[in-house]
Amino acid sequence: MRKTSVVIKTIQQLWNSIARIFITFFVSSMIMQKPALSQEQPAKGNDQQPAVHETTEKKDADKMAASTGKKGITVFLSAGFHPGVFDTSSYQKNAADNYVYGSGRLIYTTDEAFNAVKPALESYSGGFAVMSDLPLDSWLSFMQSAYFIYEFDAGIFYQMSLPVDLYQKTAYLPYENKQAPHVNLTSVTYPSVIKVTEQNNSLSLMTNLYLNLKPLSQQYLGTGAFHFKVGLGFGPVWVNRQTDVSLLTSLVQVNTGTDNDYQLDSRYSQVISSDLVWGFVVSLASVYEIGERHLVQIKAGYNLYAGTADLTTLGYFRELKFTSADYETPYHQTIDTVESIKPLNSHLSIELAYGYRL
């Protein structure tokens, strides 16, 4: 007779409950295999509870076996490199716009005493950034018809990019300081460099439903080893994003009166920290099975994100006046705002995966 304390039994029941919830949603195929063990596991002194599960699970397994035509686990584990490709031109434009357009932005101040007009920026050039994924997912077949196998897939994806220089341009910035002591600084044109660096990452728990076309391949190609599948998926996505924007002008010497060297300096960061949005993906995958258990998969997806995240913008813009001994800031403006934005645009993704059938 196994002696188990009340505390351990309580913990055991709690964990069993958690486990069953997890299994229901993520690895229900494992339940289907359990009757084989359960039948041989008539535990001493505790034969009531397993019997109930055993009956239920056996029915489930039989039902599954009938629908799939075979009995056993059909869970795969995939791991691979997952580059996502997205157009960065919109990010570049937004970042540059923060400097050259719009009221309330840092440099295009509406303060008449300190005013900058639109610098002669060059046209925006599009670009691409690559984000890598660390996927860990599993899937199972749960129904089969003459043409399709329906599959359920659940996975954890961590998507990360290294810092990307989205934008770096040299521009001429006409700037006016109309304060009484600085009337001679009206229309000083500063050579300037605007630089935008961005880094992204996100964590998502995605679930997908797939139509596996393996029966069609068997019917028309004579082999199921190579086949396609299409899927729809959704899940929560936790987004982190940081965009650093800086502007620094050259030092300009103004030889009028007591005025000396002037410079403009600005930096601000736009940050999203672990905000929750919802991700949707439409995917098409080609699968090549190697033997009974191994497979290689190439999957292309179109990802769309719904929901908003808080974008915190924090930074400053300052005009620096250098004297022989020190410097001071005739003008200093700060920005500290929070706005709701859609954190990511839609983007394509490509996944290379290796799968193993249990």
Partner: protein
């Protein structure tokens, strides 16, 4: 009786009918789901880097370089502004593995953080001192004294400081692990485990503060500001050694408990940004950015994840 399936798979256990069956059957796949926490010892360098914002209230000189408001000042909080000790990094772990007799190899993913926390929330008296040579008969070089932020004679005044610090972090750790079944213990198996993890970390700390004179009930004279430290997708690695006790239950699932030690490094490339404003009659008399002072815009710090960890989970 020993369950037949397990007895067949673990030949070593068949000789003793009173011995519980092996928690992990030979050549079997398993999935672990667990929650747990790391208990870390922060090294002094990282503490000083993270807490450089706190030093703004512990006597560091703050320069205001505005042309019409050029001065230097000290802020000294009566209570030391100190980030709450947060050695705990709770998280959830998934491991997918296969056992080969006494050996097991697993591939997993750990996720920590995600939820925002408040690590400082305080109200304290604070002394504001203008660090200028001030003469009550000529206060031109001392704008804080001239506008009544400090007393003319002492260049000091008592303030009430309200300060909060909120932070959020995400730590992702894909892991490869190896376990070796050493012995049976208390109706379970005891494993020795070693693992290596790749780390990707993001974090954000934000301090908001407001200070106004104790002698007034309004905010006609106030100091207000923000300081933010952020880092995104900084990478590192971690190694861990542990003992894992896998308790064999009477159901289809096993419970396990893991205790271990960990050592890891993340190179944090932080961006530090912030400003302060001197508010006079509800308008900003002057503002200063932390770039005017000794707080670096970019800061590279090494975060050592040295400490213990404990995980409890279920094996499917």
């Amino acid at each position: 009786m020993v369950p037949a399936a397990h007895a067949q798979q673990d030949v070593e256990n068949t000789v003793a009918s009173t011995v519980p069956p092996a928690a992990v059957a030979a050549d079997s796949w398993y999935l672990d789901v667990a929650i747990g926490t790391d208990i870390l010892f922060w090294d002094a360098d990282l503490k000083s880097a993270i807490t450089q914002a706190e030093n703004s209230f512990n006597g560091s000189e703050i320069n205001v370089n505005h042309s019409d408001f050029k001065t230097s000042m000290y802020l000294v909080s009566a209570k030391k502004v100190k980030r709450a000790a947060t050695p705990f990094m709770p998280g959830i772990h998934f491991r997918f593995g296969k056992a080969f007799g006494k050996h097991a190899i697993d591939l997993g993913l750990g996720v920590s953080g995600l939820l925002p926390t408040s690590s400082i929330e305080m109200q304290s008296s604070m002394l504001l001192e203008e660090y200028r040579i001030c003469n009550p008969s000529n206060l031109t070089p001392c704008p804080l004294a001239r506008l009544g932020y400090v007393e003319d004679s002492t260049a000091q005044k008592d303030y009430i400081l309200t300060l909060t610090m909120n932070e959020v972090y995400t730590l992702i750790a894909p892991t490869v692990g190896y376990s070796y079944k050493t012995m049976q213990l208390l109706d379970g198996d005891l494993f020795a485990r070693a693992s290596v993890s790749f780390l990707a970390m993001s974090s954000k700390q934000r301090i908001d503060y407001l200070a106004y004179p104790q002698s007034t009930t309004t905010t006609t004279h106030a100091l207000q500001g923000v300081l933010e430290s952020t880092q995104t997708s900084d990478i590192g690695f971690k190694v861990a050694f542990s003992g894992l006790w896998n308790y064999y239950t009477l159901s289809d699932y096993q419970l396990w408990l893991e205790l271990g030690i960990t050592y890891g490094i993340v190179n944090m490339n932080r961006t530090v940004n912030g400003y302060g404003s001197i508010i006079y009659n509800d308008s900003i008399a002057a503002s200063y950015s932390h770039s005017d002072n000794e707080i670096a815009w970019q800061s590279s710090d090494t975060f050592y994840l040295t400490g213990f960890f404990i995980n409890a989970g279920v094996r499917l």
